[in-house]
């Protein structure tokens, strides 16, 4: 089984621990990732806030590259990237005119039929039975609060993934691997996303709320599938503790971390040792 791979800037930058985790985990499952040749940034919030055309063109270029490289299924582990790719794709699918215009803008032909997948969808395609078959270590010590954030399920009509109010796909996978996910109330609340630099107060406030709710519902860790969520909940956790005079002490794992651990990989090979909050 192989998938096209669009890492996006974060996984090649400060969230390279996520990149490492995804690679190690999927490698152990026998999946080969074929990275897009010379991909470019999706534009993220900056593009859709300031320039509508750019917010379509940047992801459209990457979709066109995937088509050129012959990669019909494309894993984009960053939900911001996959959401932007899918938004561009549905805009392109809506009209022949748009397809022509943007083919011209990005200087590559676009059909717009690439299947863009997030990490959870790739694990689903690999199959729960397969993953369970390769698992060697039950995750019974883990009581994770599965955190989906905004962009794994919103906007629902574009992403068409899971239930946008009560998602449960991560829980389904982790429960199969022996973990005991908790029910809690902030699965789809926003952590403050990309406001870290521009408005740290918002990020600290929203992320504090999420960490507190997870704790109140007896979670002993949080599981995410998003580099931005990880930054805000893990890297910022010491700042949150200081600001709100508390001690959350909640390790934040990527979904691929826990699946990787179940498959018998060690923390080092998954990059867990590079997180800020580590389990003592």
């Amino acid at each position: 089984m192989d998938f096209g791979y669009y890492p996006g800037c974060a996984l090649h930058g400060s969230s390279n621990d996520y990149g490492q985790s995804v690679h190690s985990c999927l490698d152990a499952l026998g999946v080969e990732l074929r990275e897009l040749n010379d991909w470019i940034c999706c534009g993220a919030t900056a593009a859709h806030s300031l320039n509508h055309a750019l917010a379509l063109a940047l992801p459209a270029r990457n979709l066109a590259i995937a088509e050129r490289d012959g990669l019909p299924n494309l894993l984009a582990p960053c939900p911001m990237c996959s959401m932007e790719l899918l938004k561009a794709q549905s805009a392109l699918a809506a009209s022949d005119d748009a397809r022509r215009t943007f083919s011209d803008v990005v200087e590559l032909p676009i059909r717009g039929d690439t299947q863009v997948l997030n990490l959870i969808q790739v694990l689903q395609q690999i199959g729960l039975e397969t993953i369970k078959g390769k698992a060697v270590r039950p995750l019974s010590d883990f009581h994770p609060a599965c955190y989906y954030g905004c962009l794994l399920t919103r906007p629902p009509e574009t992403l068409r993934f899971d239930d946008c109010e009560h998602p449960s796909s991560m829980e389904t996978i982790l429960r199969e691997l022996g973990a005991q996910p908790v029910e809690w109330n902030c699965k789809t609340e926003c952590c403050g996303a990309g406001m870290t630099m521009a408005d740290e107060d918002i990020v600290l406030k929203l992320s504090h709320k999420i960490l507190s709710n997870a704790k109140e519902h007896d979670a002993n860790c949080i599981v995410v599938a998003c580099p931005m969520c990880h930054v805000n909940l893990d890297m910022k956790q010491p700042d949150i503790d200081r600001r709100y005079d508390c001690h959350h002490d909640l390790p934040v794992y990527y979904l691929s971390d826990l699946v990787g651990l179940a498959l018998g990989l060690d923390e080092r090979s998954l990059g867990i040792d590079r997180h800020f909050v580590v389990k003592r």
Partner: protein
């Protein structure tokens, strides 16, 4: 030899302003067959009609054309005038030179030319007209009422009290409908059961009413005045004739844990049960999905307890056929299923409100049971999760209503009123409690309605917040309701012990297949269509079928009752005649020509065409043919368009006439 009179109306200025009526009269006088043509200021007035009658007599007219307004307006007037002078009324044609001409054109010369053309076509048509006779249809003076809620009860009692037989069919084990489960009713706060149950008893005891409960309409044949309705009586496993309703059986039944549908799953009932104590008939049914006898083959406690020997485990569904002349549909409503409505491949809507997930988020009918003296808590307001008295209750309006994205686009009309009522009933029972209402608009149009809402706010202190709720979560047994008050422009979070969702009103389950059986139209939401929204509000496009209550659109009790009485009135108008006269302009098969392909039988939207056989005197089959049922045909012409051998025509509107009209144009 045709002698046609043409009468052109000025309609005061309405026509004469833009059409030169005198010139038109001069021009059409020249048309072949026209014996006289004249204009007059008001043709529909008494002198106008006299003019027509004089000319019919003096000119020995064989047909007339009145060029004036729409035939909807005055065709009947002119036909009556002609008939009074001995001319067959179906030899009267109209040319609409007002709506179709003078009102929509401003160039006088062009309008006049068009008026002449329209008259020319009408003359061509009347030349091919022949005398027709109205169709007389016998009426079975017996009515069927489908649905035994407050609307059905009212309609049935009105018709029965007028002296006619009524058959009532109710799907549930008892009549009473949704109203039987309500607590108190707005705007007077009188007890729902106190005002309804005497009327239920009246239905049960009325000598003119035959009641079929736990029964459904299976099929409908026939037509206006002559319906044959097959009713399936579901197996009750209790012989109603023998049973005395003593209650020994249900008191002894060991299976006690079935959620009670009458209490909207807020309470439980036994396997053999009456839905509520005042049920009519007060006879139980056995729920075979809960009964140990049916599930495990043992038990039989009810049969042992019953001294009347009324328990019959071998009972089967049976069918009865009832012959009736008119049908009143009063199938009522159900609530929009919050978070469970199917749309294509998935459910839609309101995951954010946690209904079905948090036990203390309930819908409005469930709240009615919580405050009802006959409800599962005996009228004490106790929340489902832990039986505590809720100190803060949030009521949310427009759940499912006015929500294009997740629910239904329409306003359910009654929720503003019952939500105000709910806050009052709550405050009357929990004096130290707080009632919050999140609303978008308050729609309280009705006698004493707005005053009622103001009382809830001003006297009972309900906290009204203008804004929708975005999300409900549960923390430590309390519900966190995240809303907004747009009037202060601030988000507002309320911690509540109970949340009541004012769910939208939808037509009852199964109304669409029933409508199809009755040939009654319905809209995209499943509400039955009335014939005309203003002038024929209880008639349907199926002759002899009437609607009332919430199956036609969201409405409250007073409106349902008023509409039910109106429907009963229309039935009584029908029953005032021994025979009904129908206009004869319907399809007629040329049985000699008919090739018996029966394309028409399959195409007819009113199932008005039957397969028939022509036999000679000895009974030998001569040929097969299609034949039109005169009671059912609505004269739509679908069969005419489809008949490959051109063997069917609409009387008074034949293909020959249509072609003649077209050919008359220059």
């Amino acid at each position: 030899m045709a002698r046609i009179g043409v009468f052109i109306c000025w309609c005061g200025e309405n026509i004469a302003r833009n059409v030169d009526v005198e010139q038109a009269a001069t021009q059409v006088a020249e048309l072949p067959g026209v014996a006289c043509a004249l204009a007059y200021k008001y043709m529909c007035s008494d002198p106008g009609q006299s003019l027509i009658r004089q000319k019919i007599a003096s000119e020995h007219l064989t047909g007339i054309v009145v060029a004036s307004c729409s035939p909807h307006m005055h065709l009947r007037t002119f036909r009556k005038a002609a008939a009074a002078e001995g001319l067959n009324p179906y030899l009267v044609e109209m040319a609409n030179i007002r709506e179709h001409c003078s009102w929509v054109h401003h160039d006088r010369a062009e309008a006049t030319a068009k008026a002449v053309e329209l008259i020319r076509m009408a003359v061509a048509k009347v030349r091919c007209d022949h005398a027709l006779q109205p169709i007389a249809i016998p009426v079975t003076r017996r009515a069927l009422v489908i649905g035994g809620g407050v609307a059905g009860i009212q309609a049935a009692l009105d018709i029965a009290d007028a002296g006619y037989q009524v058959v009532v069919v109710e799907r549930e084990p008892s009549i009473g409908g949704k109203m039987a489960g309500l607590s108190e009713t707005f705007p007077t706060l009188d007890c729902s059961q106190c005002i309804l149950t005497p009327r239920m008893v009246d239905v049960g005891q009325h000598p003119n009413i035959t009641l079929h409960t736990y029964s459904e309409v299976e099929s409908v044949e026939g037509y206006l005045g002559n319906f044959k309705v097959t009713i399936r009586k579901k197996a009750r496993y209790v012989d109603v004739a023998k049973c005395t309703g003593c209650g020994q059986c249900w008191n002894a039944c060991p299976s006690k844990k079935t959620p009670s549908a009458f209490d909207y799953n807020m309470g439980t009932r036994t396997a053999i049960y009456v839905p509520f104590p005042q049920a009519v008939p007060a006879r139980p049914v056995i729920d075979r999905n809960a009964c140990l006898h049916f599930l495990k083959g043992k038990c039989g406690v009810c049969a042992k307890k019953c001294q009347a020997g009324a328990i019959n485990y071998e009972d089967q569904d049976t069918s009865v056929v009832e012959e009736v002349g008119a049908v009143v549909v009063a199938t009522g409503f159900q609530l929009y299923q919050i978070g469970k409505e199917r749309n294509g491949d998935g459910t839609v809507g309101y995951g954010e409100y946690g209904y079905g997930e948090y036990p203390d988020v309930i819908d409005s009918l469930q709240f009615e049971r919580l405050v009802s003296a006959s409800g599962p808590t005996g009228g004490e307001i106790r929340r489902p999760s832990d039986g505590q008295v809720p100190k803060t209750v949030v009521f949310i309006s427009c759940v499912g209503s006015r929500d294009n994205a997740k629910g239904l686009s329409y306003c359910s009309k009654i929720c503003c009123m019952y939500t105000a009522k709910h806050t009052m009933l709550y405050k009357h029972k929990v004096h130290d409690g707080t009632a919050h209402v999140f609303y978008m608009d308050i729609r309280a149009g009705g006698k004493n309605y707005d005053e009622f809402v103001r009382r809830a706010i001003e006297q009972d202190g309900a906290q009204y917040h203008r804004g929708r709720v975005s999300k409900i979560t549960q923390e430590n047994g309390r519900l966190i309701v995240r809303g907004v008050d747009t009037l202060v422009g601030e988000p507002l979070t309320v911690e509540a012990d109970l949340v009541v969702l004012a769910s939208a009103m939808r037509p009852a389950d199964g109304v669409e297949p029933l409508a199809q059986k009755l040939n009654v139209g319905y809209d995209e939401n499943g509400f039955l269509s009335e014939s005309h929204p203003k002038l024929r509000p209880v008639e349907t496009n199926a002759a002899g079928v009437f609607v009332c209550g919430a199956c036609q659109g969201p409405k409250d009790i007073p409106e349902s009752v008023a509409q039910a009485t109106a429907a009963a009135g229309k039935v009584l108008v029908m029953f005032g005649h021994e025979k009904l006269a129908r206009e004869p302009e319907i399809a007629k098969v040329n049985e000699t020509n008919c090739a018996a392909c029966f394309t028409c039988v399959r195409a007819c939207p009113y199932t008005a065409i039957e397969k028939a056989e022509i036999r000679d005197r000895k009974g030998n089959l001569v040929k097969r043919t299609a034949r039109v049922n005169q009671g059912l045909c609505m004269g739509c012409g679908t069969c005419v368009a489809l008949c490959p051998s051109k063997s069917v025509d609409i009387e008074g509107f034949t293909e020959q006439q249509v072609y003649a009209m077209l050919e008359s144009l220059e």
